[in-house]
């Protein structure tokens, strides 16, 4: 009965959404705010990539909110996972990766770091920015953990380092915002001039902000994935399937 009811309701919802979609304007949205931003962004913020201009300039507090959402999720995961780990310590974590994975990880790590930082620093020029670069950095560190899980499955990543980077990067972001507030302007107002459009050192504080975002996201997600990796495999009561060797 439950499935029938859910099918009926979902079909109804789909039909209604399509009815609404039919009445919506196709392909020519009323570019009120969007149009104004497209015109004023190069002048006011001076970033080539207008999306980053909006992301870190016009809607800066949204990004701060989103940053803190990711931080909240990581901390909540820490709250949930870290607690129980101490008591059942038998960390039958995965076996160390095969030869190919280990050499591949060693080769990939530096490359990933370069690509990550490139994307972060050029956030205001080319597509990309703090979040994408941060995830790539996290992937870089996690590849090492996958290659050599080590005894407790954390592959030697020190959580204190992660905590420090995460905390200071977040604080950096807010410090830049407060600095502009203290400087008489508004919170998160762009500072340090516009620079030359298209140059690396253009668009004032935007690169600094995206660097802070990148570092914070990178550290957070690396910590998150490592915490997940450190969990003992399988449910408490032994499961026939737990011992077989995954690839």
């Amino acid at each position: 009965m439950r499935n029938l009811a859910s099918l009926v309701f979902t079909a109804g919802l789909a039909f209604l959404l399509l009815v609404i979609a039919a009445q919506l304007g196709f392909g020519e949205p009323p570019m009120r705010v969007g149009g104004a931003i497209l015109e004023q962004a190069p002048a006011e913020v001076g970033a080539a990539n207008i999306v980053t201009a909006v992301l870190l300039g016009y809607r800066g507090i949204d990004t701060l909110g989103e940053l803190s959402i990711l931080f909240a999720a990581a901390t909540a995961t820490g709250l949930v996972l870290v607690r129980g780990r101490k008591d059942c310590g038998h960390g039958t974590s995965d076996p160390p990766g095969g030869f190919i994975l280990r050499t591949g990880a060693d080769l990939l790590f530096p490359l990933l770091l370069v690509v990550g930082f490139y994307i972060i620093l050029h956030g205001h020029l080319t597509p990309g920015g703090g979040f994408q670069g941060g995830v790539i950095l996290a992937a870089a560190f996690f590849v090492l953990v996958l290659a050599r899980p080590g005894a407790d499955g954390s592959g030697g990543t020190s959580h204190t380092a992660i905590a420090f980077i995460e905390g200071l990067a977040g604080a950096g972001f807010i410090a830049i915002g407060l600095w502009s507030l203290w400087d008489g302007g508004e919170f998160l107002a762009p500072l340090l001039g516009k620079g030359v459009m298209g140059e690396l050192l253009s668009a004032g504080t935007l690169p600094l902000l995206s660097l802070a975002v990148g570092l914070k996201v990178g550290a957070e997600l690396a910590g998150l994935m490592t915490q997940l990796a450190e969990q003992p495999a399988g449910p408490q009561h032994p499961h026939p399937q737990a011992e077989d060797r995954g690839s």
């Binding site: 009811a5 859910s6 309701f9 979902t10 109804g12 919802l13 209604l16 609404i20």
Partner: protein, 641 residues
């Protein structure tokens, strides 16, 4: 009936102390008594102090002089959220306030005396009792003085919660009965709130005058809704027939003088509210015009028949009770029917009978309950099957109970007779024979049950364990005897009581009864109690003369110095049957008692139980996201289509 509009000068919220009218002083005195009870309740001398408090209130009430003078508006007036809130006293309020304070005075006097020791030994502190009593009196004074619908509702809520406090003071069974009462009372209060708000919707304000002016324009349909809601809401307190199940256990289980106070006046607050709304504002005439289609019954007849049923059913339930307190509590419901019936007849005699019965029955119920509690004080139980023959040990309590049951049954020398006679007379004069027959059946039931009451307690064989029982202490006897003399005097000289009732009728705009010191002088029927009682006592006098003068040969012997059927009496054999007193009658009419109303209450409770079971099912559903999806689909459908 035109209660003049409240003169509402733009007074600041709290008036200056200088402009305090005696009415404000009355409220202040009532609040002071409450405070006194709160602070000094545990002190041994708290009882007399409280009595003094009620005395001061009584004196201040007389000071307001609103019985005969023009109505007085309290300086205490509020303007909250745009609604005016004021209090005023007229003759009607004076009458009910007088009875309230009188009942409070007598109860406090009774509680202050010997009864306090017994109550303390049962592990309860008297402080909470005195606080509850004082809170009840204060809230009732506020209710009867309400100047507009908002203060009426506020007073109504305060009264129902204060009586909950008084009922729940003893805890245990009383608390359960009080909880049942609160459910009834609050459902009733919500009905009243619904009605008041509908009135606000129609007239745009809470004042009586606007409603009185708008009554002719209100359609019958709307008025029927108001009647249903308001009579239902106020009827809960009065104990009208379908809503009466809570009253007997709640009033009976309340400790001692509290039960006397509740029995005397608390239920009559429902009557006051019905009088204010239907007799004063809507008017009996308008009720007569509200015909139920396809039947000849009008709203008034319907209410009269509800009142008649309220007289019959509880009285015959009282027959079956084996606990004296429950018997009297069930009678409380029955007598309420008389008062409503009298007022609904609307003629001079009828409404006078109804209003007088409020006073008469208040003093009768208080005296009877105090007598029963005196018996409980001495013997520890009020169970009719465990008592008997206390006439020899507690003669004064016997006399008080005797006077009380005579008045309750409505027999001549006592006060109850006058008001019941007026109600009967008005029923006959208003051509309502079937209602007259119903009320006479009610009186028959009353007579039977009161006889059971006095027989099982005082007459018959004295039990072994009650040999050493002594008369109740003087501190209990004094208020009982005081009340008995009032009952007797109100019976012999109904003039003063009738004068109050006449003033109330004038305030309500009804036809005023023409009264004399001895009774009533009117074309529909006249009676002169002084002459009647004189003849009665002349008869007694002749009988006593003959008995003592010529006879007087009786010799007092011990109850067991006797023989029956050739056998000598022994102490362990019961010759005095008190269990299942009216077996024959019950066999005859037992079929009517299937507990119809209990079944009605059961259905309501089980529907609520079933509904809540299904709603909890909703909240424990396996897949909560289904509801979210369903809500989205339904809301979009409602919006788009």
């Amino acid at each position: 009936m035109q209660l003049p509009a409240l003169p509402l000068p733009a007074l600041p919220a709290l008036p200056l102390p200088g402009a305090l009218t005696p009415l404000d002083l009355l409220f202040a005195a009532a609040a002071a008594t409450l405070l006194l009870a709160l602070l000094l309740g545990r002190w041994r001398m708290a009882g007399p102090l409280m009595v003094m408090g009620y005395g001061v209130q009584f004196w201040l009430l007389l000071e307001t002089g609103t019985l005969r003078g023009e109505p007085m508006t309290a300086a205490m007036r509020f303007e909250i959220l745009g609604h005016a809130l004021g209090w005023r006293y007229d003759a009607l309020s004076w009458f009910f306030a007088m009875i309230t304070i009188g009942a409070g005075f007598v109860s406090a006097w009774y509680a202050g005396g010997g009864w306090q020791g017994l109550y303390r030994s049962q592990g309860h502190g008297p402080r909470l009792f005195h606080v509850a009593l004082a809170a009840n009196v204060l809230s009732m004074l506020l209710l009867v003085g309400s100047g507009d619908f908002l203060s009426l509702f506020i007073g109504w809520e305060l009264v129902s919660w204060a009586s909950f406090l008084l009922m729940a003071v003893a805890g245990g069974i009383a608390a359960q009965a009080a909880l049942r009462y609160v459910t009834y009372a609050f459902a009733g209060a919500m009905a009243v709130l619904g009605a008041l708000v509908l009135i606000y919707g129609v007239t745009g304000s809470f004042s009586y005058a606007d409603f009185a002016a708008a009554v002719p324009t209100i359609t019958n349909g709307q008025l029927w809704v108001l009647v249903a809601l308001l009579v239902g809401g106020f009827g809960v307190k009065l104990g009208l027939i379908p809503l009466h199940l809570w009253q007997a256990p709640a009033y009976a289980e309340t400790p001692g003088p509290g039960s006397a106070f509740l029995g005397a006046i608390s239920a009559r607050m429902g009557l006051y509210a019905i009088v204010v709304v239907f007799v004063a504002l809507v008017g009996i005439g308008r009720l007569v015009q509200m015909e139920i289609p396809y039947t000849f019954i009008s709203a008034r007849e319907l209410l009269c028949w509800i009142a008649a049923l309220t007289i019959i059913f509880p009285t015959y339930t009282a027959l079956q009770q084996h606990d004296a307190r429950y018997l009297l509590a069930w009678h409380g419901i029955g007598q309420g029917g008389y008062m409503l019936l009298g007022l609904l007849v609307g003629t001079a005699n009828g409404s006078a009978g109804g209003l007088l019965h409020v006073f008469n029955y208040a003093i009768t119920q208080a005296a009877l309950l105090m007598a029963v509690f005196a018996v409980m004080y001495r013997t520890g139980t009020a169970d009719l099957n465990k008592l008997g023959g206390l006439f020899t040990r507690m003669p004064i309590t016997f006399v008080v109970l005797l006077i009380g049951i005579i008045s309750l049954a409505g027999l001549p020398p006592m006060a109850g007779f006058v008001s019941k006679w007026l109600v009967y007379r008005s029923l006959i004069a208003a051509e309502m024979p079937f209602l007259f027959v119903a009320s006479v059946i009610g009186t028959l039931g009353t007579i039977l049950s009161v006889y059971k009451l006095i027989h099982n307690i005082f007459l018959g064989q004295l039990r072994l364990e009650h040999e050493q029982v002594r008369e109740a202490p003087v501190s209990l006897l004094a208020p009982m005897l005081g009340l008995s003399t009032v009952i007797f005097l109100a019976g012999v000289f109904p003039g003063p009581a009738l004068s109050w009732v006449a003033e109330v009728q004038r305030a309500l705009g009804l036809e005023v009864i023409s009264y004399t010191l001895g009774g009533v002088e009117s074309p529909q029927g006249s009676i002169d109690m002084v002459w009647l009682v004189g003849v009665l006592f002349a008869g007694f006098g002749v009988g006593a003369l003959v008995f003592y003068g010529f006879g007087g040969k009786s010799k007092r012997v011990h109850q067991l110095d006797n023989y029956a059927g050739g056998h000598f009496l022994t102490a362990d054999v019961r010759y005095h049957y008190s269990d299942n007193f009216y077996a024959g009658l019950m066999h005859l009419i037992g079929g009517l008692y299937k507990g119809g109303f209990r079944w009605l209450e059961g259905t309501v409770t089980s529907t609520v139980d079933m509904l809540s079971f299904s709603t909890v099912g909703v909240y424990r559903y396996v897949q909560p996201t289904l509801f979210l999806l369903a809500a989205a689909a339904v809301m979009l459908a409602w919006v788009v289509l």
